[in-house]
């Protein structure tokens, strides 16, 4: 059972660890693609992370910016799917 705080921490840690970025730079509402923190390969690895960590599969139709643009968006997406 994941709590919301655990989940958010895991998502945040994943993004920080995979980009070697400063913790301070990535806020919950930072636009991670628009600001170039993750690129297209970063999106694919993020989808893989969501699958492996939360057993959450992403469909073609769910590949929209509203689901992935920030940690907050990813959290909403995860909550809706779980």
């Amino acid at each position: 059972m994941h709590t919301e705080t655990d989940t958010k921490a895991k998502v945040r840690n994943y993004i920080i660890e995979s980009t070697f970025d400063d913790v301070e730079k990535i806020k919950d509402d930072t636009l991670i693609f628009e600001e170039g923190i993750l690129d297209s390969m970063g999106l694919l690895f993020l989808i893989e992370f969501l699958q492996e960590e939360f057993n959450l599969t992403t469909s073609d139709e769910e590949l929209v910016v509203e689901n992935f643009q920030s940690i907050n968006s990813i959290m909403t997406f995860i909550e809706r799917k779980m």
Partner: protein, 326 residues
């Protein structure tokens, strides 16, 4: 200093002085190959596509047809049309030294097909590479504000289409496997270039170079890229001017890489060339999105998103254009 510039329009990329532009490329080719590279002719891989056709025509005019070796490099997934069109092209420009080097066995030796099909089979479990056709494609709109993700599509003999979003491991394995094709072609072109003391003519156009739609040390491995600065619609303009056969001009550009028919638009660019060229020009030359939107009959938001998409592609693929770091 004149700081005025042309208003953005659909004709902005049209080359008015096509003869002069062709002659300048031909002069530069002669200088690059003869003087800078000190080579005595050109080797070029021809596929029946528009880019390699224009490059071959330019090479034949620059060096003379008898100093050009045109090589067709088919493999088991290549379309039969490609070879027929390539032969017609060589005949049109009087290039007699044409060779066919089938690279299927080399690719088989590398495990290209097996590795690719294994990865597809992990995603679509009832994939049968003996009878099914497969391709990978981007299904998102270019105006989407999210980086593209690839899907694999399998087409069964009965016409059933199965498509799934590709997990990252399988996506990377499919791309890495099929890249053997471009790298094997590059090896064969250099074999002939070294045998003849010729230069290898690379065929990527401006979009392929700058958006990273090429394989590093594959089709990106060449000595000279005569159309690397030209937009795709300009390449078509050159093709018509140079007399490239009409069947080649009329053909939809494909990757000729996967077993299922796959256009370059589906695979990578996400929009028609005519639109992409103009919007890229607008982005590259800092035209405001609203000015471009009016001409292209799109919303300002769409153009802003497409600008971001271009910026992302150029940034993501910078690695492909980099030389080894030392």
């Amino acid at each position: 200093m004149n700081t005025t510039r042309q208003p953005f329009s659909k004709d902005i990329l049209h080359i008015d002085n096509i003869e002069t532009v062709c002659n300048a490329i031909i002069t530069k080719l002669k200088n690059d190959v003869g003087r800078t590279l000190q080579r005595r002719g050109a080797v070029i891989g021809i596929s029946g596509g528009i880019d390699s056709s224009v490059c071959m025509a330019l090479s034949a005019k620059a060096f003379g047809p008898n100093k050009v070796t045109a090589i067709m490099l088919p493999e088991q997934d290549s379309s039969d049309d490609s070879r027929l069109l390539a032969e017609k092209l060589a005949a049109k420009f009087d290039v007699k030294d044409t060779l066919v080097e089938d690279i299927t066995k080399a690719l088989d030796g590398f495990g290209c097909y097996q590795r690719r099909d294994d990865a597809i089979g992990r995603v679509i479990t009832n994939f049968d590479p003996k009878v099914d056709k497969a391709k990978i494609e981007i299904k998102q709109d270019a105006a989407s504000n999210l980086p593209p993700a690839f899907s694999v599509t399998v087409i069964k003999p009965n016409g059933e289409v199965i498509s799934k979003l590709l997990p990252v491991k399988e996506y990377l394995q499919i791309v890495a496997s099929t890249n053997f094709k471009q790298r094997s072609r590059m090896s064969m072109l250099y074999y002939h270039a070294e045998r003849l003391h010729y230069a290898v003519i690379g065929t990527p156009n401006k979009h392929e170079v700058e958006q990273g739609f090429f394989v590093k040390y594959g089709d990106g491995g060449a000595d000279v890229m005569p159309i690397g600065h030209l937009y795709k619609t300009q390449v078509y303009q050159l093709a018509r001017h140079l007399g490239v056969p009409q069947e080649i001009i009329d053909r939809t550009p494909t990757t000729d890489t996967y077993t299922a028919e796959q256009t370059q638009e589906d695979f990578f660019y996400q929009m028609p060339f005519e639109e992409m060229d103009l919007i890229w020009y607008g982005w590259e030359n800092d035209y405001p999105a609203d000015e471009v939107a009016k001409v292209m009959d799109k919303t300002t938001q769409d153009i802003e998103n497409i600008y971001k998409n271009f910026e992302r592609k150029r940034k993501t693929t910078a690695y492909l254009r980099m030389r080894p770091i030392f």
